[in-house]
Amino acid sequence: MATVNVAVNERAFNDVVMAVAKYLESVPSFSGSGSFGPFSASYSVGLKLTGGSIDLTNTGRVHFDELHLTYDPLILNLGIDLPTIPIGGECILPTPWGCSVRLPEIDLFDANPDISIPINLSNTIVSEFSGEFTVSDSKQVLVAKGSLRPHAAHFSPDTSNEIRDRFRSTVGTIPFLPTSAVNGIADAFVPFVKSNLADKWQFFLHDVWHNLELISISDTAANILRNLTDFIIDKILAPVPSIVRGVVKAILNPIFDAIAAVLDIPDDILEWLSSQLQISFGLFDLLAQLIINFVGSMVPFYQFEDPFPMIEDSSGLLPVLVPVENVSVVVNDDEFVMSADIG
């Protein structure tokens, strides 16, 4: 057994999701406006995490299960500012000393904007994200390190082209890419990884599959039905006490949830297929998966030195480097476990 174990269970991951949901509720909506000649537009957008969970699976994957992002508020205001047209003001009783009686004068279209079209989609549009990810780790040992001892490697900047060349050969596998583009893409990632000559434990993210629906048809449709029904109930049953209207809405709510679930069946089937085939469907998701995995295979999302500088010192003493061996990340049905042997 490893000498250091840190485990985080599924409940903790979901607590973090709930915390994000609570945090988003407290974040004020962001708004803005702009005008383009006579046309103007303003918006107010807020986000709420209204559903979803994270499952840890025995296949070693972290499964993001239908995280729902509801836009509330989502108010768009379109406006047109017409040129002001003054009407009236003509003199109807002229006298030698000037006009004694004039028609009343009014300005047409003097408001700004004159025509306003509010589009309120609050609590209607829902985005949905599902996906499965794995984390792997490996140790990077640079050839350039040679026989340098740990402290010397810690203090020696990596001036070799080892990482650059490795990235270039990886990017070079993309067909039809000109050499200049291969070099440019590969070189852009080098600064994220290159530092000194010390060995490093690196952690890589792998996107097994994901499905991002910017507008989730099922949930958005259910929300439209729900909002419409609420509106009708509030209008038709206006004389009825609000508590009774609330009961009626509560009775109808499971029906809308059922409609959403039925409408979501094709999506669920696609997600199941994605999970089985380990590939995202849809051009955008497939491209995103390829890019994430391509970059993710080169650039670790986290890395640390081995031996790890546990105590740094500014007074000229050597840092205390502690070897870290057998680093592993394991996901099972219960928890996410990181373990290592220290020393």
């Binding site: 057994m1 490893a2 000498t3 250091v4 174990n5 840190v6 485990a7 985080v8 269970n9 409940r11 903790a12 607590d15 973090v16 709930m18 915390a19 994000v20 609570k22 945090y23 407290s26 001892r149 740990p150 402290h151 010397a152 031996p307 546990m310 105590i311 000229g316 003493l317 050597l318 840092p319 205390v320 480097l321 502690v322 070897p323 099972n332 219960d334 928890e335 476990v337 042997d341 220290i342 020393g343």
Partner: protein, 292 residues
């Protein structure tokens, strides 16, 4: 059984990790463990415990880091001159053993084996004094004016007018020069110290505190027994009154609030988590709970 059956986040550190880190500290920061006067600082090969000197990482020397932290010379009580004795002090073989006991062989005075939820610490302190030869000491001793007592008629001894002892400090001058080093005169001894401790929760329900409690300590093989008991009593007083009160940890300070929406804190004590932190299976285990 999962690590997090009764908590959200679990962290367990095996005694091997602690002991390996101490070992790396000894190898890479030897000046934290080896103390001595000029000659010992310049010649670590003269230190008493050569085992920890041999362990020193070659890069410490390559980077010019000190192996021995230089200490002032040892003043000689009653002597009022610039000379002082050379000595060295080393802390070696520091280690920790979490229940069940399998790293340390506890002395019988500590009633082995280690009790549940207890830990033991072992340290070996080695000290050396460079003892000058008697001839050298005689040669270096100050030549003060002889004492000429005069006897009065009444038979009383009259004190001559020379410097009188007073209530001032025994050592008046900090030594600045070592007595010439005598390589054959280094006298070394090592003492093994064992300490048994446990973690205890104290304070009220609203202000819980984790404290380290000393159960017992033992210095092995000092004779006579009275000296051993006196030294142990002194160390016990130092630990209980001087050291352990400073390693109390307020549990409230361990509770982190992330953006006022997520609280991360120690899992409360319950029948399922009877100890937090727990000292068991050769590890120290911490159980953490998240609350939204």
């Amino acid at each position: 059984m999962a690590f997090t059956d009764h908590c959200d986040i679990f962290a367990g550190i095996h005694e091997k990790s602690f002991n390996n880190v101490v070992l790396q500290l000894q190898r890479q920061r030897p000046s934290l463990f080896n103390y001595g006067t000029t000659t010992f600082a310049n010649h670590p090969e003269l230190l008493c415990n050569q085992r920890i000197i041999r362990m020193v990482d070659p890069e410490v020397r390559a980077f010019g880091n000190p192996i021995v932290k230089e200490e002032p010379l040892l003043a000689i009580p009653g002597y009022d001159g610039p000379l002082g004795l050379e000595y060295c002090l080393q802390l070696a073989e520091l280690s920790i053993d979490f229940h069940p006991s399998n790293v340390h062989s506890l002395p019988v005075e500590l009633a082995p084996p280690l009790q549940s939820q207890h830990l033991s610490l072992k340290g070996r302190a080695c000290a050396g004094l460079d003892c000058p030869t008697q001839d050298l000491l005689i040669k270096l001793a100050p030549t003060e004016r002889p004492f000429y007592p005069s006897i009065s008629k009444g038979g009383f001894i009259k004190q001559p007018p020379r410097e009188q002892p007073n209530d001032g400090p025994v050592v008046k001058q900090t030594p600045t020069r070592p007595i010439p080093f005598n390589r054959e005169g280094i006298i070394c001894f090592c003492l093994d110290l064992f300490v048994v401790l446990h973690v205890e929760r104290e304070g009220g329900a609203g202000d819980p505190v984790i404290a380290l409690r000393l159960d017992n300590l033992e210095i092995v093989d000092i004779k006579p027994d009275g000296l051993e008991n006196a030294v142990e009593c002194f160390l016990r007083a130092m630990l209980i009154m001087g050291v352990l009160p400073k390693v109390k940890l307020a549990l409230d300070s361990l509770i982190l609030s992330v953006g006022n929406v997520l609280t991360i804190g120690p899992t409360p004590i319950s029948p399922l988590v009877p100890f937090n932190p727990a000292i068991e299976d050769d590890q120290i285990k911490a159980f953490i709970t998240l609350t939204v």
